[in-house]
Assembly symmetry: C2
Homo-oligomer: 157 residues x 2
């Protein structure tokens, strides 16, 4: 039996499932890089989606980044996302979802003692059927907010 | 083929696997409650453990809390943990692991616009073979730091 989706997260229904694709990363402090990414959005009937993501080096297949968290729609329709990153960063972003376009801006970034100095992130997601495109802008390590990641994923489950 | 555990997280090896058990919650602002909990610690060969947890109401089986994140051992042996909570909280705790006893104190708490006002958490974990006991103290909603959760889990995988 499939658990019904909670009505509050109905605006996020298009995200549900497993996604896989290729992304590209740039930043002034690192060499450009390509990665293979897997993303999962699920739910357990509560008004929140369960999110996880991991990437591998596109050339070597070695594990790279990982993150996990929860996506919620508040009573007033605002989107609230909490994410923990494998590299010692916690991220809270808030924003909106309108007709398959999601825009999020960070409101709180937490860092462990040894984490990279991330100051802020802005994310966009565009869902069009079985295609999910995203971008992530980041301000970190004394660099102003700028494009860091772009990826195009396809539904695989 | 099993991926070898990264040497830096060797002190956390005893946590690896699937755990299940029963917990009890108290707080001045809520009725005492019992819950069934499932916890997973895994890894992908990187110097970090992948953590997730979810609970159900012990009486009704309804989903309650969920959290996920990553556990890392820094080069100097300190433990750094980043966790995102389904209720809109992000948590960074740091501490130590000594002979199966883990002690963590929060250094950064993040809250979404609609999250409960959590101010800080202290956690302990004790691993003894196939038994995992933990406690969580919390300062929140104008209450001082005090015991909130205790649970005893057993290895199921």
């Amino acid at each position: 039996m499939t658990t019904p989706l909670h009505p509050l997260v109905e605006p996020l229904r298009a995200l549900l499932g497993q996604w896989r694709g290729v992304g590209h990363g740039v930043y002034p402090t690192v060499d450009a890089f390509d990665y293979v990414e897997q993303v999962s959005f699920g739910h357990a009937g509560k008004p929140v989606l369960v999110y996880s993501q991991r990437t591998e080096d596109a050339a070597t297949g070695e594990p790279r980044h990982g993150e996990s968290g929860f996506w919620k729609v508040a009573d007033d329709g605002r989107l609230e996302v909490v994410i923990a990153h494998a590299n010692g960063v916690t991220e809270i972003t808030e924003g909106s979802v309108v007709a398959g376009h999601i825009a999020l801006r960070s409101t709180v970034i937490g860092l462990t003692s040894t984490a990279k100095q991330v100051l802020g992130v802005n994310r966009t997601f565009d869902v069009d059927g079985d295609e999910l495109r995203y971008s992530l802008d980041m301000a970190a390590v004394a660099q102003e907010m700028q494009r860091h990641l772009t990826a195009t994923l396809h539904r695989v489950g």
